[in-house]
């Protein structure tokens, strides 16, 4: 059961399904305490940024 759960976590991570959750975790850890930090991005706004950034460089090959 534990193993299945871990597999599911990996699949979510691989596909980017949990990208927003990871962003929130990163934000809470690194930025939330800083005085100049605003609220974190919304799910939709984060996803937009994430996707646009992902396709800037060479991502696919022959």
């Amino acid at each position: 059961m534990q193993w299945l759960k871990q597999c599911w976590e990996r699949i979510r991570q691989l596909s980017g399904d949990d990208a927003y959750d990871r962003y929130l975790a990163h934000y809470a850890e690194q930025h939330a305490d800083l005085p100049e930090a605003g609220p974190p991005l919304s799910r939709a706004a984060f996803f937009r940024q994430w996707q646009d950034q992902k396709w800037k460089g060479i991502k696919r090959c022959c």
């Binding site: 992902k54 396709w55 090959c61 022959c62």
Partner: protein, 683 residues
């Protein structure tokens, strides 16, 4: 102690098993050979190479240090820099490097028989491709994920950097053209195939809208929806194929299809990524991983017999699919799957930013390439399980074996590979196609091979569905490469033009976006157009050109790596990259020489141009050929100069690297190492 003895016995047994399997593959001269021998030999070689050679390189040559913080840890920004689980990085890296190349290359190279290609895939990957990927990944990780071009500039000099940049741009153009040609040839006069491929576009857009507006960021939900729709589209294509009104709408010659692809490529480069490119990429990644897994399972369950001889007479250079002798052309034809320079662009840049520990570099760099090599072996099996007569009938262009079915069958049977018109018609009917003669480019024969393997395991009556599933599977990630490649080409061009006029370099400035996208599309569109009107099938010209370009890029990557090894005082180990580099130099130079100066009109570009010019002036050409002859002549000459340009570029980089190494060994000043300082990991 006991454990160690058992460990040694295990590896010894594995080595013995691998040697036996390889001997069986190499010396079996019976009627057929079971594909399981190929799989066994490959898996044993991969395991041994990974356990010993790759581990030795990691420990002794690169001295990988798991206590050192990676860029993902030090520069963690929660987005592109982020320490990530090794299996996830492996998945990302493999999905990025494995495209249509390892499927198409072995399919074409099977004209030499199964043995030459298989040996090159195994040896090339273990000693060349996987080493290149791992070493590049390591050096880029130590340099904050710098790209290959930047590393070449930083470590060797401006010449190497510029060559890498131009090389990358050119290879992209040729790659997209040849892949476009593969899709066009798969869709030609196939309403089923064309309708299915066309349906993937609105499906991708729907998934894109879903992920952006309906349920933002729910990638898995959207992907599952998309994959189900894609599977449905294969069935829908079958319905269209039998529809009296709709079928003719999707039944086209090559040229209109080529223009559709060109128009599509332009639209995809200009449209926002979320609408088409990103969702298509999710779908293609899922399809790719799923289908590769399914094929592996099917081959293991079926254990098919290989009907192709080990070596065919075409090693003398008279092969119908592409001209040229075994040496050097088998090494040029199979690039991806053995060694592919393109991988160095992925291994520098994207992947290093995700790695959480240097200890994962062997698994991700070396391991992912071994898996890609295994995909190439499976493609080789899919090609060679076909009866050789059928294989040649599908893959030989009409210009070589004749336009009429009877001519083609007689020519191919004359070579000793029996095939009949009735047999081909029966096969075409079973696959739901009107004809399978002269369906060049590799995709249709791969689809026939895959369909017959899947059909035997999962049900014969579904052959036509399996065939078009395979076509859809190939088309979807070829089109992803096409979209992504055009976009990258556009960014690179904008980057270069930005030096001339700053406004052209702004990636969000619409006139510049349209101008540069149009230029890139025109570049590959030209080669695609010529490839389609060329009576010899176009693959004969474009695939070797792509192979030479890709190997040139690999040689640049290996030069950078060799240079860094020598500079950092590891001269005694520099052979790990210098050895494959020397081999690449030999094959690329030999192939370039043959492609330029050979008298054989099917090999030499200048010879072909002169021959055509001579026939044209003597009035020997039929009117429809005479009309396109001037364009073909110009193209052959252009290709010759392009080949010379590639090989000149390659030698310049290698000379630049050797000069730098010589200065370094003599203790003279060289560019300082750009490796980042040691920081201990806290993960």
């Amino acid at each position: 102690m006991v454990k160690r003895v058992w460990g040694r016995a295990g590896w010894g047994g594995l080595a013995l098993l691998g040697a036996c399997a390889l001997a069986q593959v190499a010396w079996a001269r019976g009627e057929t050979l079971n594909a399981l021998w190929l799989i066994t030999a490959a898996v044993c070689i991969y395991l041994i190479a990974y356990r010993f050679y790759a581990a030795w390189i990691a420990a002794r040559v690169l001295t990988i240090d798991a206590t050192r913080a990676t860029p993902g840890e030090r520069l963690n920004n929660g987005r592109d820099f982020m320490p990530t689980n090794r299996w996830v990085v492996f998945g990302h890296h493999f999905a990025a490097i494995a495209g249509p190349g390892p499927l198409v290359g072995p399919m074409l190279a099977a004209q030499f028989g199964y043995l030459p290609g298989t040996l090159w895939i195994l040896i090339g990957a273990v000693l060349g491709g996987a080493v290149q990927d791992m070493v590049t990944l390591f050096f880029s990780t130590r340099r904050n994920g710098r790209s290959l071009g930047q590393m070449a500039r930083d470590e060797i000099g401006a010449i190497g950097g510029t060559a890498a940049l131009i090389g990358t741009f050119m290879i992209m153009i040729i790659l997209i053209a040849v892949l476009g040609l593969v899709v066009v040839n798969a869709m030609k006069h196939s309403p089923w195939g064309t309708a299915t491929v066309a349906a993937t576009i609105p499906i991708a857009m729907l998934v894109g809208v879903y992920m952006r507006y309906l349920r933002p960021g729910r990638v898995l939900e959207a992907s599952v929806l998309g994959v189900l729709l894609l599977l449905a589209s294969v069935g829908l294509g079958g319905w269209v194929d039998h529809h009296p009104v709709l079928a003719p709408l999707f039944d086209h010659e090559g040229l209109p299809l080529a223009f559709c692809i060109i128009g599509y490529g332009f639209a995809a480069a200009v449209l926002p990524v979320w609408l088409l490119l990103a969702p298509r990429d999710y779908l293609s990644t899922f399809m790719k991983l799923g289908t590769v897994l399914l094929l592996a399972i099917a081959i293991l369950l079926l254990r098919p017999q290989i009907h192709m001889p080990a070596v065919t007479p075409f090693i003398d250079g008279t092969g119908p699919i592409f001209g040229g002798k075994l040496f050097p052309f088998v090494f040029i034809t199979i690039a991806c799957g053995a060694i592919s320079g393109f991988h160095a662009l992925i291994a520098s840049g994207t992947t290093p930013k995700l790695i959480s520990s240097e200890g994962d570099i062997r698994m991700i760099g070396y391991g992912a390439m071994l898996l890609e090599s295994f995909v190439a072996i499976m493609a080789m099996i899919a090609a060679t399980v076909l009866e050789p007569g059928v294989y040649f009938a599908i893959n030989s262009p009409a210009g070589v074996v004749g336009k009429e079915a009877l001519d083609a069958v007689n020519t191919i049977s004359g070579w000793g590979y029996e095939v009949t018109v009735a047999q081909m018609q029966h096969l075409a009917d079973a696959m739901g196609e009107s004809t399978l003669f002269a369906r060049t480019g590799g995709a249709p024969s791969l689809a026939v091979g895959m369909a017959s393997i899947f059909g035997s395991v999962f049900g014969e009556h579904l052959l036509a569905l399996w065939y078009h599933f395979a076509i859809m599977f190939e088309a979807i990630f070829i089109l992803t490469t096409l979209d992504a490649g055009t976009r990258v080409g556009r960014f690179m061009l904008q980057d270069m033009l930005g030096n001339l006029h700053p406004k052209l370099g702004a990636t969000s400035y619409t006139p510049s976006v349209i101008l540069t996208s149009a230029l890139v599309v025109a570049g590959w569109g030209y080669f695609l157009y010529i490839g389609v009107i060329d009576p010899n099938g176009g693959v004969n010209i474009l695939w070797p050109l792509f192979g030479i370009a890709n190997q040139m890029l690999a040689a640049i990557a290996l030069s950078v790596a060799t240079g860094i090894l020598v500079k950092s005082g590891r001269l005694q180990f520099a052979w790990i990259t210098a050895l494959p580099l020397t081999w690449l130099l030999a094959i690329t130079s030999a192939a370039a020489y043959e492609k330029t100066f050979s008298d054989d009109i099917r090999v030499g570009f200048f010879a072909a141009a002169n021959d055509l010019a001579h026939k044209l002036s003597a009035g020997l050409l039929p009117p429809e050929k005479a009309a396109v002859a001037p364009q073909l002549i110009f193209n052959q000459q252009l290709d010759a100069w392009l080949t010379l340009f590639f090989v000149a570029m390659l030698w310049i980089v290698v000379m630049d690297m050797l000069l730098m190494c010589w200065r370094s060994v003599r203790g003279k000043a060289v560019l300082p190492s750009s490796e980042t300082a040691y920081v201990a990991t806290r993960l």
